[in-house]
């Protein structure tokens, strides 16, 4: 840096927070604290619904990190939901660990698996990457369906958790889900504020230019893929704490990824706010329209197409098209000292 540019640089500093983001963070902390007390006064049904909400929110945040920020459209993230489910079974039932260490072991294992699967998936790009990840998920499903220790085609119930006191299990699952849901938001915010996030933003604008400026494009994408996959596996294992019964067809079902994609696209792709809005809309629509069965899914598909074509930034994009609102401080601004 020359002396002149140093003089100019010293007059400015990078500022993250805005008034809105400070307010949002404060409200978020209050909301988190309030929701953490819910088991003391809320009903079981509410807790169960919120477990699903926070689990799906975390999965959608991870898918958004992957596709919205990383440009990697995967339709094979169900591989990691299944790995989370079976990992939970392996480490609680087969090695009799308590729930939290079991999830930690599963997460460590899924780091290795994600790096390994990336060796295959990253040979493909764009749309073919999407189908490639799906093939990988299919391989996991077929393998799980053929391993007798994992219950083969019929699947397994997590016996040690079934034996646990039902209220205790519900509360534990709820707190974990709450942590995973809020944790996913914090994680994506921190990533986008980090060097990794800066690289992602550069890649998003132009891969060639980013590479020219010294961003290791492939490695950045691989790191994002591993983080998003492990996050998805953790969210999956939390959801299966509630479901308890693991079947290969359901655990490795592409429906998981369908849900993630709906939530992200409806809420707003490439924005942290998007999956939050999307998950609320998704759960609300399902509670209202679930009776219509597959007609409801046809409607979801239509909504998704309409949004991609007419409002590619989703509901959050529509809400903020007039005003530039950002609840999360992930944008660098230069201000004078």
């Amino acid at each position: 840096m020359t002396a002149a540019s140093q003089r100019v640089a010293s007059r400015f500093r990078v500022q993250w927070a805005t008034r809105t983001s400070r307010l949002a963070t404060g409200l978020g902390v209050v909301l988190f604290a309030g929701l953490a007390t819910l088991p003391a006064w809320g009903e079981g049904g509410t807790l169960r619904l919120l477990i699903e909400f926070f689990g799906l929110l975390a999965m959608a945040q991870m898918w958004n990190l992957l596709a919205g920020y990383g440009g990697l459209v995967s339709i094979g993230q169900q591989a990691f939901v299944g790995i989370g489910a079976y990992g939970l079974f392996i480490f609680t039932d087969l090695t009799s660990l308590p729930v939290l260490p079991a999830i930690a072991c599963m997460a460590a294992g899924s780091v290795v698996i994600a790096i390994f699967t990336s060796l295959f998936a990253f040979r493909l790009r764009g749309g073919y990457f999407a189908i490639g990840t799906w093939v990988i998920a299919e391989v996991f499903r077929i393998v799980a369906s053929n391993v007798r220790e994992l219950g083969a085609g019929t699947g397994v119930s997590i016996a040690s958790l079934v034996r646990m006191d039902a209220t205790e299990r519900l509360e534990l699952t709820y707190w974990l889900a709450l942590g995973v849901g809020f944790g996913s938001i914090v994680l994506v915010t921190l990533i986008m504020r980090s060097r990794l996030g800066l690289g992602l933003a550069a890649i998003h604008d132009s891969e060639v230019a980013a590479a020219g400026l010294g961003v290791n494009v492939l490695q950045t994408k691989r790191i994002v893929y591993v983080i998003a996959s492990v996050g998805c596996a953790i969210a999956g294992s939390v959801l299966y704490l509630q479901l308890l019964r693991i079947q290969p067809v359901a655990a490795f079902s592409v429906d998981w990824t369908v849900k993630m994609i709906f939530i992200v696209v409806i809420g707003g792709l490439g924005r942290i706010e998007g999956p939050i809005i999307g998950a609320i809309v998704f759960i609300a629509m399902r509670e209202l329209l679930a009776d219509y069965g597959s007609a409801y899914l046809v409607a979801l598909g239509l909504v998704m197409i309409v949004i991609v074509v007419l409002a590619p930034r989703g509901l959050w994009g529509l809400l903020t098209s007039r005003w530039s609102i950002a609840l999360f401080a992930i944008r660098r601004r230069l201000v004078e000292r």
């Binding site: 596709a67 440009g71 459209v73 339709i75 060796l119 295959f120 040979r123 493909l124 790009r125 764009g126 749309g127 073919y128 990457f129 999407a130 189908i131 490639g132 799906w134 093939v135 990988i136 299919e138 391989v139 077929i142 393998v143 369906s145 053929n146 592409v254 369908v258 994609i261 696209v265 792709l269 069965g293 597959s294 007609a295 899914l297 046809v298 979801l300 598909g301 239509l302 998704m304 197409i305 991609v308 074509v309 590619p312």
Partner: protein
Amino acid sequence: MEWVNAVVQGVLLGGLYALLATGLSLSFGVMRLVNLAHGDLGMLAAYLSLVSVSMVGIGPLESLVVVVPAVMILGYVLQRGLLNFTLRGGVLPPLLVTFGLAVIIQNALLTMFSADSQGLDAGPIETASLAITDQIAVGWLPLLTLAVAVGILVALQLVLSRTGLGRALRAASDDGEAARMVGINNRHIYAVAMAIALGTVAIGGIFLGIRTTFGPADGPARLIFAFESVIIGGLGSLWGTLVGGIILGISQTVGGQISPAYQLLAGHLVFLVILLLRPTGLFALPGAREA
């Protein structure tokens, strides 16, 4: 001898996979569009055939005459009215829209036809076979499927290399902007390419429906087989797609010979190994661009 038989049956199965894969390869080649609803549109064709069989009383093979043009028109309209609008915004929009389309088709079929598996009855040709040796018999239907696949590839090759339409398709594929500048109507050419792509997958879907039973949720599995054939064969190569389909077919039948549980797994594993060792596929054209 049963191993030789497995290989022969695999080659024939490859014809079916090539039929499913050709359209996927074509739409990617011409407009860089990976159609995630490709398999589901093939299933839609099988159901349309089922409807025409039960309503008009024709056989499934005769129904090709009605269903294939209908699906081609659908393809033209779909590309012109929807997919063309997704092509300018990068990788994500076409994937998300075709994925939404896949969900719609699957659930619409489920609503209309229930989850029961269906079959298309083509009469005696289904079981008729040609005995080559005592232990190896080649079914007429798989043989016909392979012949149709080869016929379609020859026809497509001729269209691409000899006609004005083929020239326009190749131009749009090489450089859409430049093609537009020399007066090619890209939107029309893309729609024609999608019509051809869906026409071929419609034929594939109907042959598949005659060969095995099918259900509304079978589309994604067909998409995966088509995709594996394309990648094994190499991006941008029509004949590579046929070879890719045949390699996938042989992997599955030989895997199934080892144990029925390994039929699909063997196909996926061969695909993954080829992907790792030769990511451009076996017959990728020089300069075939990636997505």
